[in-house]
């Protein structure tokens, strides 16, 4: 099968859906002629014109509000917020309007808005250009949250998002855009929301990993397999809806759970996943759950310090040995 980069897979999803549906409109800062800060939308302005590919001013709240207005008029808007760190500027529009309009209007309004954003952890971008806080959005009823970890998932999930009729926060990972290539079929496919993917099967312990950490978990699993430890790696792919069954079934099999995510440990995604398992599957656990997450400090700029801040496959291996009672 041909291989595409994560960024190319995303672009292909947008392009195909724009060709298929004239109601798909994309907009955001520098997404037109510049092709997006990370070139995901490169070439789309030339192909689809300025009416459907709109360069906006630096106005995050207005970008999201604008998308909401288009969405309730029956369009399929895709907003790009350049860095996840800028999302708080628009969070009022996301929280109070996009996520609530269907409910608040008694079902009269639909908000099929996609907000694409990315986190840049690992690129020495400092405290205000590297952050990752998906749990904030898991806490908002009415908002769907997707985080693809592979080019295949990126394309399939984005195409699904574009066809849904509810608002989606689509969180990409900057480190993966151009460094990660993977198989993406030429033929049409989509990936349903709420269906976790077992990226590697195993029987000794379960690692639930999010976005970039899926790859660290897979490296860890490979290294651990050399020591005879058989690891299952699960990527939830969407945090809302959240496929708890796949994780519970895995824990029933392995009896052990590690959660690996780039967000802060305190009140993070891992907290919620750990709580779900504690609430619904505690009897199947043979050891306490271990979380491998970012420390609860702002992200330091110094590349050496940032490297220490970031969790890696080594941290996961350490956790695995601990959970198996080897340390």
């Amino acid at each position: 099968m041909r291989e595409l980069s994560y960024a190319e897979a995303l672009r292909e999803a947008i392009r195909e859906e724009m060709l298929k549906n004239p109601k798909v409109i994309i907009f955001g800062e520098d997404i037109g002629k510049y092709g997006g800060a990370y070139k995901v939308t490169k070439g789309l302005l030339e192909e689809f014109g300025p009416e459907r590919v709109i360069d906006t001013p630096i106005s995050e709240a207005a970008i999201v509000g604008f998308g909401i207005g288009l969405a309730i008029m029956g369009f399929k808007p895709i907003a790009e917020i350049m860095y996840m760190d800028f999302i708080p500027i628009a969070i009022e529009q996301i929280l109070n309007h996009a996520a609530k309009m269907h409910f608040m209007s008694g079902g009269q309004l639909k908000v099929p808005l996609i907000i694409r954003t990315q986190y840049s952890l690992g690129r020495a971008h400092g405290s205000q250009h590297s952050q990752f806080f998906p749990s904030w959005f898991m806490n908002i009823p009415g908002l769907l949250v997707a985080l693809p970890s592979t080019p295949y998932d990126a394309k399939g999930l984005l195409k699904t998002a574009i066809r849904l009729e509810d608002p989606v926060l689509f969180i990409e990972c900057c480190l993966l855009y151009h460094r990660l290539k993977g198989p993406v079929p030429e033929e049409e496919y989509t990936i349903p929301f709420g269906k976790a993917d077992i990226k590697r099967e195993g029987k000794d312990l379960t690692i639930v990993a999010i976005s970039r950490m899926v790859h660290e978990a897979l490296i860890a699993a490979e290294k651990l397999s050399e020591e005879g430890i058989n690891v299952e790696v699960i990527d939830p792919r969407t945090l809302n809806p959240f496929d708890k069954e796949t994780i519970i079934n895995s824990v029933k099999k392995t009896g052990r759970l590690i959660i690996a995510s780039d967000d802060h440990k305190r009140a993070g995604v891992s907290s919620e996943i750990a709580a779900i398992i504690a609430e619904e599957a505690i009897d199947y656990l043979d050891a306490p759950i271990i979380r491998v997450c970012s420390p609860d400090i702002p992200i330091p700029f110094s590349p050496q310090l940032e490297k220490k801040f970031m969790r890696s496959n080594e941290d996961i291996i350490f956790a695995a040995k601990k959970i198996l009672g080897e340390i």
Binding site: G65, G69, F103, S105
Partner: protein
Amino acid sequence: MSIIKIETLKKEEYDSYGLSKEKLKGMLKKILLIRYFEEKVEELFLVKGLLIGPAHLCFGGEASAVGIISALNEEDIILSNHRGHGHALAKGIPPKNVMAELFGKITGTCKGLSGSMHVCIDINKGALYSSAIVASNIPIAVGVGYALKIMNDNRIVACFFGDGGTNTGAFHEGLNMASILKVPVIFVCENNQYGMSIPISYALAAKSIAERVYYGYGIKTYVVDGMDVLATYKAAKLAIEYTRKEKKPSFIEAIMYRLKGHGVYDKAEYRPKEEAEEWWEKDPVKLFSERMINENIISEKELKEINENIKKEIEEAIDFSLRSDIFPFDELYKLVYSGEY
């Protein structure tokens, strides 16, 4: 182009602005309906204790609601705010559904799920959305306008907000984007002089809201006496004509006064008594009623009949609300998303 000050309409101009006797009577009925509705709502809160929650009554806002919405075509779209009872009634949402929303009943405009601050949502009536977050409807209106523009749809959008909203980021980001994207939206600032307890004279760093918009964003701007329904109607007609033809936004600053407190429980003790008394002299409902009688558009007898009919309609709306059910709680989960996940 400069900031355009709009004077009231003269009687001899009525025809050229499409104001037939019937149209004027219709506007008078609306303005009386809004006033009586609000008086009754106040009573339901303060005297009868039948309603609770926030309610921001629009005493003083009747002229802008009726003047501006009457100038729109029926199919045009409005976006309202937390003070939206008048907008809802002016747009033709039946009073019984507005009332039922205040009572939190399934027969309300939002099935009782949103209350007073969101009564002005009825997509069949072109009342698209009501935001309770001050000025947050502005960027949304820009998106709605852009949708109409690229659909080559001749409808326009009127977006209502108060003076308090003009200091928010959403206002500035939204107006800037409206101007550069050239969307068919009329922004209506109901400058009622107060953002809760804070007077605009204190809160606004600019010389005026109109100057801020005109010089800041290059948007065609009209300033009008917001207590005069015929003046707001005229301003709206001119703004609508410009916006529909030029496919560009316009802005109306309706200078008016919030005749009562911010919310139904607010006695507005922070403002000078004389100030309120002076503005009550310009009560839009009283002025318009008197003018219509003086100009022989309506007789005293007809006016009395209208008032009686309105009272009856409001009593029926209350009965209807009291008799209505609430939305079944277990079904609420089905309304969070439009799809199933």
